[in-house]
């Protein structure tokens, strides 16, 4: 919203000096009187064009004074700017990459896919938007995967493209030595990351320090690895005001699990019962004021994300500020034309007047 304003309009009456200056130029007051025999001799010689044009001098002088008065009145184009301040949240994803995540109990685009692929797809949509989700463009997003050990794959960052890149590269644990589900360690690592981020939040323009932090825990099993008890980790999270949204991934009952390749090159599946420690997950959510969800298929996973999205609402704040363009000293655009600063105009007028007065319109008295 732009508007024209005079911030010091009490200077405007100075413009009344303009007719005074023009009159001063035209009148003979203060001029040396030069007597002459007879004006008839002079008028008989006629009037030159320059003498007629001489009137431009008081006009220039008057305009310069008026413009100067306007400049003093401080003309501005006030530009009201509305800035949106975003209170960003920090979301720490904890993604289970234990071997059991290979269970093919999810569907994506009509195809049977394993849990990890579904998590990648829907999680990516949650972060960047798509599939009916808005995306969390103002939030810091971090990614931790865990199996037997918890690994921080991406720090809390606004570079969501990078996070998704990393997310898409997650592979389920293949070695027996690294397989497992260290929920406690993962939560503890997530808390540590969030705490660190809250302490040294990247101060960016229009960004407030992190106001809320949450852990989104995706798992399909029970805590069976790690030295840290998940409940202790959850209490730790609660201490720092971090909510845990825990999501149990897996259908109810049995889930088809690839166990190898048969002699004909066919993937062999075996139904394995889904064992999600829902009690633990609910407890974790409860301890931190979060919530537990159960994702039995892709669409329910999406619904869960949608819910979390709504719960972890990004707070925005509008602040209005005025931006002034001083027309006296700044060039500006008006009606589609660029104009130099008004003071430049004053200078131009005065120079033109001075030039004329000292050259062609030079007067003896």
């Amino acid at each position: 919203m732009t508007s024209f304003q005079l911030l010091a309009s009490w200077f405007l009456p100075l413009a009344l000096l303009a007719p005074l200056a023009a009159w001063r130029f035209l009148s003979s007051r203060g001029r040396v009187r030069i007597g002459y025999s007879s004006q008839a001799l002079i008028s008989a010689a006629g009037v030159s064009m320059a003498l007629r044009m001489r009137l431009i001098v008081p006009v220039l002088r008057g305009l310069a004074i008026i413009l100067l008065a306007i400049c003093l009145a401080r003309p501005v184009i006030a530009n009201q700017q509305t800035k949106v301040f975003v209170e960003g949240a920090a979301l720490q994803f904890l993604v289970d990459r234990s071997g059991s995540m290979r269970a093919m109990d999810f569907q994506l685009d009509g195809k049977q896919v394993d849990r990890l692929v579904a998590v990648k797809s829907v999680g990516g949509a949650f972060i960047q938007g798509g599939q009916g989700l808005q995306g969390r463009s103002d939030d810091l997003v971090g990614l931790i995967t865990f199996a037997r050990y918890a690994d921080s794959l991406s720090p809390l960052t606004l570079d969501h493209g990078y996070v998704i890149d990393v997310l898409n590269k997650i592979q389920p644990a293949k070695e027996q030595s690294e397989d497992g589900t260290a929920i406690g360690e993962a939560v503890a690592l997530g808390v540590e990351r969030l705490r660190d981020a809250m302490k040294n939040a990247p101060m960016e323009k229009g960004r407030q320090p992190i106001q809320s932090a949450a852990i989104i825990l995706l798992t399909d099993g029970e805590n069976n690895a790690g030295d840290i008890d998940p409940r202790v980790a959850a209490d730790l999270a609660a201490t720092y005001g971090i909510k845990i949204y825990s999501i149990g991934v897996g259908t109810r009952g049995n889930a088809p699990f690839p166990v190898g390749v048969d002699p004909f090159g066919q993937q062999m599946m075996r139904n394995i019962p889904v064992t999600i420690d829902e009690v633990l997950l609910k407890d974790l959510a409860k301890r931190t004021g979060g919530e537990y969800f159960r994702a039995t298929d892709t669409s329910s996973l999406r619904a869960i994300y949608d819910q979390i999205d709504k719960m972890e609402k990004t707070k925005t704040e509008q602040r209005q500020s005025m931006h002034y363009t001083d027309l006296a000293v700044q060039s500006f655009r008006f009606a589609g034309y660029g104009f130099p600063p008004l003071l430049g105009g004053v200078l131009l007028l005065l120079c033109a007047e001075l030039l004329l007065v000292t050259t062609r319109f030079r007067s003896v008295n």
Binding site: S28, I34, Y36, S37, S38, I42, A45, A50, R54, R362
Partner: protein, 293 residues
């Protein structure tokens, strides 16, 4: 009444003009009137064409041949100075104003008149008759005239030459040599002058300044009319204006000369800041050469 300055000026003028008068002008303006009169001029042998009545028998008898005795016609003339004191004369661009020049020229003529033992009268005028000093003889009288010339403060600022000449025609019945000293920046003086010409020997002395003939290129200048007080700005940077001004000046001078030629009068032109002795001498010499009437 007279300031020291004026007295000094009068003395200076007297000395200066006296020198001029002695040098050349003395008597010249009357030398055109020769013949029978009161004053003895010369005795010389009779020549063909001489009037037999002028043969002086006594001298002829003594000399043993015919001799004529010549008299100068009434040597005692009346000189009338009609001097313009109008505002336009306060102008002068070259060392002196026209008024100063007028005073000097008039003073010269007055002093030159006293040397010839002539009567001198003075008529000061602007747009009205400012002062009239009746013709009289004597050095004291001339000094008084000079004082009036220098000290008189004109009441009017305009110019009315016609009224002055009319007044002169009215009061001066006897034949006189009338000098009309003015810048002739006026109209309608031709007819009264024609009338004056019938009785008197009229000599117009035209005082002018070169800036009335030509404008220098000095940019724009605001001038004030000394008579009307009106102001006018002239653009001297314009060649057009300067040329027009010069043409107007030439035209005016030509018209002036033509008007006088019709009356068979020769004007005496004197410019400010220029030595006026030469033109005056040249003028009277020219008159003399044309002989008696």
């Amino acid at each position: 009444m007279l300031t020291k300055e004026t007295i000094q000026k009068i003395r200076r003028i007297e000395i200066r003009t006296a020198r001029v008068v002695q040098e050349a002008v003395a008597g010249r303006y009357v030398s055109a009137f020769k013949g029978r009169g009161m004053e003895f001029e010369e005795v010389r042998p009779y020549a063909d064409g001489d009037d037999v009545r002028t043969i002086d028998w006594n001298v002829s008898a003594r000399a043993g041949g015919p001799h004529v005795k010549l008299f100068r016609e009434e040597r005692e003339l009346t000189i009338l100075l009609a001097v313009d004191l109008s505002g336009s004369l306060s102008f002068g661009s070259n060392a002196q104003t026209k008024r100063e020049l007028v005073a000097e020229v008039a003073a010269i003529l007055a002093f030159s008149a006293t040397r010839n033992n002539d009567k001198v009268g003075l008529l000061l005028f602007s747009d009205q008759i400012e002062r009239f000093v009746p013709p009289r003889k004597g050095r004291r009288h001339v000094l008084r005239i000079v004082r009036d010339l220098l000290a008189h403060k004109p009441v009017g600022t305009g110019t009315n030459i016609a009224a002055a000449i009319d007044e002169l025609n009215r009061i001066q019945k006897r034949r006189a040599v009338v000098f009309v000293v003015s810048d002739f920046l006026d109209n309608g003086w031709e007819q009264p002058m024609t009338i004056a010409r019938r009785r008197h020997d009229v000599i117009p002395v035209s005082i002018f300044d070169r800036r009335e003939r030509e404008l220098p290129k000095i940019g724009m200048i605001e001038l004030t009319d000394e008579e009307s007080g009106k102001r006018i700005i002239v653009d001297t940077s314009s060649r057009k204006v300067r040329d027009a001004f010069r043409r107007q000046g030439e035209l005016r001078a030509l018209q002036f000369e033509l008007a006088l030629r019709k009356m068979k009068i020769d004007p005496l032109m004197i410019e400010t800041g220029v030595d006026y002795v030469e033109p005056i001498i040249a003028y009277f010499r020219k008159r003399e050469a044309r002989g008696s009437r």
